[in-house]
C-alpha cells in the first residue's frame, strides 16, 4: 500500500471515474484537463479528504467486482455510467456503501467539474469571457445582450 497517496489501483479507478463524469468530446474532458492528477494533489494536502477518497474508490472497485467480476477501470463505458448513476441515486444493491455512496458521488463530481469550470480554455468554449475587472466590469449590466 502506498501510504503517500493513492495505490495504482485507486489511481486508475479515479481516472476512470473522472472520465465518466467528464468525458472528452469537442472540448476538453477529464483526461485533457488532468483532473485525476489535480484531485490527487489536492487530497494529498488534506489527510482526512484523502481517507474519504480512498474509502470511496476502494468501495467503488468492490462494487464493480461484485457486480461484474472486474474493477471499475476494466468495465465498459455503459457499465461505468450505470454504476455512477446508482451512486448518484443512492442505490446500493450490493450493500457495500453504508449510506455514503451519494455523498461520495457529490464530492467527486464537485471536484471534477471544479477543474473543468475554472479552466480558461473551457471558458472560451462555453462563452464566458473571463475576468472583467481589468476591463472595467459591466457598467451596462442592466441590459440584456439583445438590448446592447
Amino acid at each position: 500500500v502506498n501510504t503517500e497517496g493513492f495505490t495504482d489501483g485507486e489511481r486508475e479507478c479515479l481516472r476512470h471515474l473522472a472520465r465518466t463524469l467528464l468525458p472528452s468530446d469537442e472540448d476538453a474532458g477529464a483526461d485533457e484537463l488532468g483532473v485525476a492528477e489535480v484531485i490527487e494533489a489536492k487530497v494529498l494536502a488534506a489527510p482526512n479528504l484523502l481517507a474519504v477518497y480512498r474509502r470511496g474508490l476502494v468501495t467503488l472497485d468492490a462494487t464493480s467486482r461484485r457486480r461484474h467480476g472486474h474493477p471499475f477501470a476494466a468495465l465498459d463505458a455503459g457499465q461505468q455510467a450505470a454504476l455512477v448513476g446508482d451512486l448518484q441515486a443512492g442505490r446500493d444493491p450490493e450493500d457495500l456503501w453504508e449510506g455514503t455512496g451519494r455523498r461520495f458521488f457529490l464530492l467527486v463530481r464537485s471536484d471534477v467539474v471544479f477543474v473543468y469550470a475554472t479552466d480558461p480554455e473551457v471558458w472560451a468554449a462555453i462563452g464566458f469571457p473571463g475576468p472583467s475587472h481589468g476591463r472595467g466590469g459591466y457598467p451596462d449590466a442592466e441590459k440584456l445582450p439583445h438590448e446592447r
Binding site: Q88, Y116, A117, G127, P129, P131
Partner: protein, 514 residues
Amino acid sequence: MTADHPDVCVIGAGACGSVVAATLAAAGARVVVLEAGPRYRPQLDFVNDEAEMLKLLWNDPRTAGGRDPVLPMTGKGVGGGTLVWTAVAQRPHPSDFRTRTLDGVGADWPLDYQELEPYLARVERDFGVAGPPTGLHGFDGARGGMPPHPVSGLGRVLAGGAEKLGLHPQPGAVAINSRGSGGRPACIHCGFCIEGCISDAKASAANTYVPAAERAGARLVTKAFVHRLEVDAAGRVARALYFDAAGREQAQSARVFVVAAHAIETPRLLLNSASPRFSRGLANGSGLVGRNFMVHPNVSIFGRFPDPLEAYRGFNLANVVVQDFYPTDARNGYARGFTLESACLPPMGFAVAGTELWGAAFKRLMRQYVYCGGFWTCGEGLPNERNTVALDPDVRDGWGVPVARTTHEWSENDRGVLRGSIDRSRDILEAAGAAEVFHGAPRGAHNMGTCRMGRDPQASVVDPDCRAHEVPNLYICDTSVFVTSTGVNPTLTAMAIAQRAADRMVQAARRGDL
C-alpha cells in the same frame, strides 16, 4: 509571553469581532484583536478567478457527519467571512424572533425585532448598505441611505416571471457601494464578489470596522490562531493561548474576552478549553455549546432560456429578491419559509452548485451557460439539539488541536422548506420563459446557533447581551448566538446583535460591572 494587559481581547477579525473592536476602542478601551488568518490587499491579492478565491476560506480540516452532512464555507483572514460573502444584507423579519409563539416551531429569542431595529439601522449606515428603504409588505428595508443598485438583465427577466405570478420581486439590500462612499468607489458590476472584491466596493470588515478600530487605537495581530482559553481561580478567562505567525505558542491576557470566531470555530474553541472547573467545555454548563447547529436549507435552481442572458454580468445577488414565501402559510406542509435571491454566477459556481448533471449531459448544459440564470434559495432551517458542532475524536489540525466535526440531519420541516423553495422557483422560472429548469443538490448555507442566547442559564449559553451565563468576562459575538436561523443571509443580523452587545459592554464597564 506578551507583556501588555489590554482591557479587551477580541478573537476573530470578521464581521462581528470588528464591530465590537471598533465600538470598544472608540469608547476608550485598550483592545487587541487576534485573527487566525493574514491581512489581504484587495488590489494586489484578489483576482477575478473562482479557483483563486479558495485561499480566502477556512481551509484547516473540519469533518462532517450525520444523515445529511453539511459544511458551509467560512472565511479566514482580516475580514473573515466578509471577504467571501455575497454582501446580501436583507433585514430579518419581526416574526423571526417569535417562531415558537407564532408558528409552534423553533424557539423564541430573548430579543425582539424592535429591540434590534436601531442596531440594524446603525450597521446599515456604518457598514454601507444599499437597497430599498421599504421591504415587501411594508417590512423595513435597508435604512443605510444608499440607493439600490440597478437590476441586472438577468434580474429583470426573473422579476418579470415573478410579477406575472402576482408576486413582489424587489431589488435587494447589499453591502456594496451603489455610489462612492466611505472612501471606497461604486461597484463596477464585474461579476465577482465571493472571490474577494478587487475594487473594494463590497463592504467587508477589512475595509470598514477593522480600520475604524485601528484608528481608535486597537491593535490587530494576524496569523494568531487561538486554540485555548484559560481560566483563573475565580472562573474568569485569564488568557487566550495562540500560535503566532512563527508557530510559537503565545499567551494574551485581558480583562474581557470576546469570542467572534463564527459558529463552527467558536464552539470548537470553547470545547477545547475544558478545564477541571469547566469539565464539559468553557461556559458549557447547559451542555448547549455546539448544539442547535443550524444552516439554511439552500438550493441553486436555474432555467435555460431561449435567448442569452449572460448572467455573469452584475454582482452575485443579481438584485432580485422574492420574499412572498417568507412567512408561514397554513396551506404548506411546513412552517416558516424562504427568500429567493437571483444569482449571478461565474461558471464554477454554476457547474458545482447549479446542477447534478455529469457526463455528456453536463457538457451539453455547460455549452448553454450564457442562456442560463436563476435563483439561490435561503430557507429557514429549524434548530435541533441533535445537530451539533463537536470535537472530532480522531482528527487534529496541523497544530495538533482537535478539529470541529459537524453532525447534521434535515428535519421534515427543513425538507418541506427545501421542496417549497424549489417548486416556487420553478414556477417563476417557467413564467419567465425558461425552456428547462434544473437544480443542484440541496446544500446547507451559513453556520448558526451553536451558542444560543437566552435568559435561562439551563437553556442557553449567553444572555441577551451575548455575555456567557457562567463566565462573567466572556462574550460571544457571532452567529453562534442565533436562536433560530431566520430566512435571510445572517451577517447583517449578527452584526446588529454584536453592535448591541458592544454598547452593552460599554455600559456595563461604566457601571463597574465588567
